[in-house]
């Protein structure tokens, strides 16, 4: 793996004996590695400035996570339909650099953190398994860190895949914009492990998703996963308006459908650009106005986030749904992080739970029960 893009690797002295550090210490460049007893740059307070945020992407801190690894997806809020799954946070911050990334309004830690105690995360899962082995759980690791961009260093996916193979009813989603899959392919088949890509037209990747894998490489990695017996999902999210959006998204649909058929893809979701108003300032500073995200015509929506005009969103969703359905009517698409109204007005004319094949993904009953049990434990 290429470690040259990082400025420094800080290791919390408390985790020197962790299996991860023992394994990777010899890989880390000596001149860039430092053992510390305090979080570096922790004197800075408040929201991160542009330079602090940029720095946080180039410095990794290996430490232990103190707390519960298992959390509910942030999309699950009143008034917001969501795929409502659980998240396992194995780190914080991302080494790639998308202009719209929500971490810009979320992170206030001065460096990228990788938690070394994955064994404890797996132990938590083992405990849940005792009660919920038969339930249909869906768990993702890519909420506040990309699931795979550092995985060729940590190899966490391998441990997780090994565990999930013992609980076939549960699904593990490894969500990424990288193409790093080679190191776990030999663990397949594992149909309950979903290798999942956010995809966008190559034009948008180049203008907005800096440091990520090209569309070609993402699709290539997805094909390798499919061939090795993993499940796949694609998230065309966020769709970004630009003058050539129809042509470019149509091309994207072509590229996906040329390689994959509906039966290859477990979940295909679509979402449009959205971000918290307070994210605007740092995005403007970091990406200027060449970006289609900072230039976007966005307005406050009912949940407080800035979004495109609702009619434009519907037009974009309908367009992409039609493009897929024209290729093959069996393509099933759902909208993530959208309001129920958008669902109803879109091509589907129904809420997610009533869309064929999606019921299981939106089963709030299981989630409620689990939450209750988790809160009893804490």
């Amino acid at each position: 793996m290429d470690l040259s893009r990082f400025d420094m690797f800080y290791i919390d002295h408390e985790v020197l004996d962790s299996p991860l550090i023992k394994r990777i210490k010899s890989i880390l460049p000596v001149e860039k590695t430092k053992v510390v007893s305090k979080i570096p740059f922790s004197d800075s307070k408040g929201d991160l400035s542009k330079s602090e945020f940029d720095r946080s992407k180039k410095n990794i801190f290996f430490t232990k996570f103190k707390g519960s690894f298992f959390k509910r997806c942030p999309g699950a809020r009143p008034g917001l339909s969501c795929c409502n799954y659980f998240v396992l946070n194995l780190g914080l911050q991302c080494d790639m650099n998308c202009s719209y990334c929500y971490l810009q309004s979320f992170i206030n830690t001065p460096l990228m953190t990788v938690y070394t105690n994955i064994d404890e995360a797996i132990e938590e899962l083992e405990n849940l398994k005792l009660i919920h082995e038969k339930d249909n759980f869906r768990i993702g690791t890519g909420e506040v860190i990309d699931s795979l961009s550092l995985d060729d260093l940590t190899l966490y996916s391998r441990q997780l895949i090994d565990f999930f193979k013992t609980v076939p009813n549960w699904k593990l989603e490894l969500k990424t914009k990288s193409s790093k899959v080679d190191h776990f392919l030999n663990l397949g088949p594992a149909k309950n492990v979903i290798a999942s890509w956010s995809v966008n037209p190559q034009y948008i990747i180049e203008s907005e998703e800096h440091g990520t894998a090209s569309l070609k490489n993402r699709l290539l990695a997805a094909k390798k996963c499919l061939d090795s017996g993993f499940s796949l999902s694609f998230h065309i999210d966020p769709m970004i308006w630009h003058p050539e959006w129809k042509k470019n998204y149509s091309q994207l649909v072509n590229e996906i459908t040329q390689v994959f058929s509906p039966s290859d893809v477990l979940v295909l979701s679509v979402g449009a650009l959205r971000f918290q108003p307070e994210q605007k300032a740092i995005m403007r500073e970091r990406f200027g106005f060449k970006s289609w995200v900072t230039r976007a015509e966005v307005f406050p929506s009912s949940d407080g986030k800035l979004r495109y005009d609702k009619k434009l969103r519907l037009e974009m969703f309908d367009y992409i749904v039609k493009e897929f359905k024209d290729k093959n009517p069996l393509w099933n698409i759902f909208f993530c992080m959208e309001t129920p109204e958008t669902w109803l007005k879109s091509t589907f004319k129904s809420l997610p739970k009533s869309v064929h094949g999606l019921k299981e993904l939106f089963d709030h009953k299981i989630i409620k029960n689990t939450e209750n049990r988790l809160s009893l434990r804490n």
Binding site: K45, A281, E285, R295, S302, D309, K310
Partner: protein, 271 residues
């Protein structure tokens, strides 16, 4: 109490405080640097000034004692003057005395704010604008482009919230390379119309769609006593219908006319 004469004091900390130092109050200094009354026209160079520097006091506390309230531009000017002399070691403490969190974001805002025209700084002081509300200033790539607009800001008579929005829109439009001539032409008229014109320029697609709906309405919506307007509320755009009724009968009549109109036009693409 250590004192010195006014004539022996330097004025290099003069950060142009907005309120003139009352001549009835004593004057203070920190060693040989005057801390207040910079612009007092005192003829007598022998005026006594109290030196507040001591081993027990911190300059930050002394300043907060002399100036319990300062606006953001005053703080920016003061910070710029003092950061070079390194007398204040803990800026976090200094700004906490003004209930402001000291962080890199604040520093960069203050650094830009002191470069803005003094009339703009005055507007910021008058409207008590906060550092976060000035964040658009930080994305300016070429300060010369925005300066003429900031110079005019005070004269525009914008309310606080209009001003914050106009500032953001202006900076975004400048950074989106809209020509200065075009922008200057928008900066005339009432504060409200300036805001509307800038919004239209910043959101051209949405504006065009909204105008198209209004044009259609102007052509087809003919209901006596009822007005139909193309409107946007947040991310939703649509048609707002307005009428006024004095009586039940009147109200019923409007509804009937509206219904009749709707039945005739419901298949047209008008909303």
């Amino acid at each position: 109490m250590i004192t010195r004469y006014l004539g022996d004091c330097n004025k290099s900390y003069d950060f142009k405080p907005l309120v003139q130092w009352p001549s009835t109050l004593p004057f203070f200094c920190w060693d040989d640097e005057l801390l207040c009354g910079f612009d007092t026209k005192i003829k007598n160079e022998l005026q006594i000034v109290i030196n507040l520097k001591s081993s027990e006091t911190q300059m930050a506390d002394v300043l907060a004692f002399i100036y319990p309230q300062l606006t953001l531009p005053e703080l920016a000017r003061l910070y710029t003057k003092l950061k070079v002399i390194k007398e204040i070691k803990d800026w976090g403490h200094f700004f906490s005395l003004y209930k402001i969190r000291f962080c890199e974001n604040l520093i960069s805002t203050l650094d830009i704010l002191v470069q803005t025209p003094i009339s703009f700084q005055l507007w910021v002081s008058q409207k008590q604008i906060q550092a976060r509300e000035l964040s658009p200033l930080k994305c300016i790539s070429n300060f010369v482009d925005i300066e003429p607009f900031l110079n005019k800001f005070l004269e525009l008579n914008l309310t606080r919230s209009q001003g914050i929005q106009v500032l953001e829109l202006l900076i975004e439009l400048i950074e989106m390379k809209i020509s200065k001539e075009v922008l200057h032409s928008l900066m005339n008229g009432s504060p409200n119309s300036i805001h509307v014109k800038l919004m239209e320029m910043r959101y051209p697609l949405a504006t065009e769609k909204q105008n198209n709906v209004q044009n259609k309405l102007d052509n087809i919506f003919k209901v006596t006593g009822v007005e139909a307007l193309s409107r946007r509320y947040g991310d939703k755009s649509g048609v707002e219908v307005k009428f006024f009724s004095e009586t039940n009968k009147d109200f019923q009549q409007r509804l009937n006319s509206l219904n009749k109109w709707y039945e005739t036009n419901k298949d047209q693409d008008w909303i």
